[in-house]
């Protein structure tokens, strides 16, 4: 345990140190302006003089103002403790059903992500099965699947929202569709690879038993694909979350972590943006961890763990 803990703590400490250090040049100009207004002596004096100066030079010339770069209400780069405090207050100190609560927004995002992931993973598996069993599908579907991923999701997300809205679908479903759009692809690729993983010898062997296509699918291809499937599900679930967040930006529903990011940027609430970012990252980590746990359980039961 100790051998793991020390490197982990070291890395976290290094990131924190870098982050706090980065806050100084990022926020120094505002800190100097505030200090000067309150009558303190800063170097050099006068906002106009400082305007075009390097942030690093200003930071070096005013070590006395460093403290103020870590406590601003609307900093360019909030300090870690500010983000943590915002995360805490917006999850623990407000009613989880309130629109100020990250739990509320997180749930909105999570529900669309889960629905989108279910659609995406299901679609991915079905397409993969088709691709492996039909040469026509292999030739026709795969190029489109690849092409679909070369389109920037930011460009296509608003279209999906608009099109689905015009047929009366709004809220959860359009976001889930965008989320599925991103998450089906890694599942298709991984699953095709997995279903094709049995060697020619394995396939010859089931042939000598006169196995039907269905039998060799259920008894050979499908179990052989399990490790590949889980690897791609992990990527897929993370893509799902990204898809949902992107879908929340233009959807204008005023809910979800994506909206939180957007509204934070409207009002210059950088602390809010960063805490929403972290909430997203934590959510993604939890989703990947859940899949990892299912993976370990399933592979262990299969004797592959």
């Amino acid at each position: 345990m100790k051998r793991v803990l020390i490197p982990v703590i070291t890395v976290v400490a290094a990131i924190m140190a870098f982050w706090y250090a980065a806050c100084v040049p990022m926020n120094i100009k505002f800190a100097l302006m505030t200090a000067e207004r309150q009558g303190e002596v800063v170097s050099p004096e006068g906002m106009m003089t400082r305007r075009d100066m390097s942030a690093f030079v200003l930071a070096a010339r005013n070590p006395g103002q460093w403290d103020d770069t870590w406590v601003q209400a609307k900093p360019r780069l909030p300090a870690p403790h500010q983000v943590v405090a915002e995360l805490w207050s917006s999850t623990m100190e407000v009613n989880p059903t309130s629109k100020r609560s990250l739990v509320f927004h997180g749930w909105i995002t999570l529900s669309a992500t889960l629905l989108g992931f279910a659609i995406g993973a299901g679609l991915g598996i079905v397409l993969a099965v088709g691709i492996v069993h039909s040469r026509a599908m292999d030739m026709s579907v795969m190029p489109w699947a690849i092409a679909s991923q070369t389109i920037p999701i930011l460009a296509i997300a608003p279209m999906i929202i608009v099109v689905l809205n015009s047929v009366g679908l709004q809220g959860l479903v359009p976001k889930a569709v965008i989320s599925a759009y991103l998450s089906f692809f890694p599942v298709v690729v991984g699953m095709v690879k997995g279903l094709r993983s049995p060697s020619p010898m394995d396939l010859d062997l089931v042939k000598t038993w006169s196995a039907t296509r269905a039998q060799s699918f259920w008894k050979l291809r499908l179990p052989a694909s399990a490790p590949y499937l889980f690897a791609s599900l992990k990527i897929g679930v993370a893509s799902s979350l990204v898809g949902t967040i992107v879908g929340e930006l233009p959807s204008g529903t005023g809910q979800g972590l994506g909206f939180r990011l957007l509204s934070g940027s409207y009002y210059g609430q950088t602390v809010q943006i960063w805490s929403a970012l972290f909430a997203t990252a934590i959510l993604a980590a939890c989703l990947v961890a859940v899949i990892g746990a299912v993976e370990r359980g399933v592979l262990k039961r299969m004797g592959l763990g």
């Binding site: 010898m201 394995d202 062997l205 089931v206 042939k207 006169s210 196995a211 004797g303």
Partner: protein, 260 residues
């Protein structure tokens, strides 16, 4: 022997169409294998020994001549569960236990659960793996895995056992042991065995008949009837009879290469 041959090839030809043009893998192969024979196919790589075995198993389609297995076409024989096939690699599914792997063909062929359990027990015993049914393949040595794969091929009571260099990937000591075991198993079950190898001692030690093949195009150059008794201890390999057959096999292999 007066009975009908179990496997009969007449003027068998097989030409593969490759990007570099047609390759004649088998040319005018004539062979009869009788019930209870242990026939080894020996020859350098590319001589068509594996291809011939695959033709018998209906894994390749001959382009000329005729081939019958138990009087049927290879395809029909496969549907009638005429043979079990053992590959060079054990090819056990890592997600199934040893018993689960042996059960696999039985599941596919639709045996009842009770029959499956009974047959699995029987063949595990036959290959000396009783008690290992619950282990996973990775928990077994290479030799044991190959034995399990032989058990799998025997599980559904096929009369013919086709083996494609089954011990090729094993070390010599394990190979000797498995050869001995295979002979005992053959004596007990009276199967007809087709055995591909590139080891002369292995072929001579195991077989009642040795088919010597040569490449480009793949053809039979010699068929040697072994005078060795059915009962063969490992030290028979030092007997004059054994050495004489081995010599003849070597001569046959050399003759096939004469034009090189």
């Amino acid at each position: 022997m007066t009975q009908l041959p179990v496997i009969e090839a007449k003027h068998l030809d097989l030409t593969f169409q490759t990007n570099d043009g047609p390759v004649q893998a088998l040319k005018d192969v004539n062979l009869q294998i009788s019930k209870g024979d242990f026939v080894s196919f020996i020859g350098p790589s590319g001589c068509g020994k594996t291809t011939f075995l695959r033709c018998i198993a209906a894994l390749e389609d001959p382009t000329g001549g005729s081939l019958t297995v138990n009087g049927m076409s290879p395809e029909e024989a496969r549907k009638a569960r005429a043979y079990g096939y053992v590959f060079q690699a054990a090819g056990l599914y890592p997600w199934r236990t040893i018993a689960g792997n042996i059960r696999l063909p039985l599941e596919i062929m639709g045996y009842s659960r009770a029959e499956q359990a009974e047959k699995v027990e029987k063949v595990l015993d036959l290959v000396d793996l009783a008690g290992f049914g619950r282990k996973y393949p990775w928990q077994l040595s290479g030799g044991m895995q190959q034995r399990a794969s032989i058990a799998r091929a025997l599980a559904f009571d096929a009369d013919i056992l086709l083996m494609d260099e089954p011990f090729g990937a094993l070390d010599e000591i394990v190979r000797d042991h498995l050869n001995e075991e295979l002979l005992k198993l053959w004596a007990r079950t009276e199967k007809t065995i087709g055995f591909v190898t590139h080891s002369i001692p292995e072929a001579v030690y195991l077989s009642t008949r040795i088919v010597v093949m040569s490449p480009r195009p793949g053809r039979i150059t010699d068929v040697i009837e072994s005078p060795l008794p059915k009962e063969r201890p490992l030290d028979i390999r030092d007997s004059p009879d054994f050495l004489e057959i081995a010599h003849r096999v070597r001569e046959g292999l050399r003759a096939g290469h004469a034009y090189d």
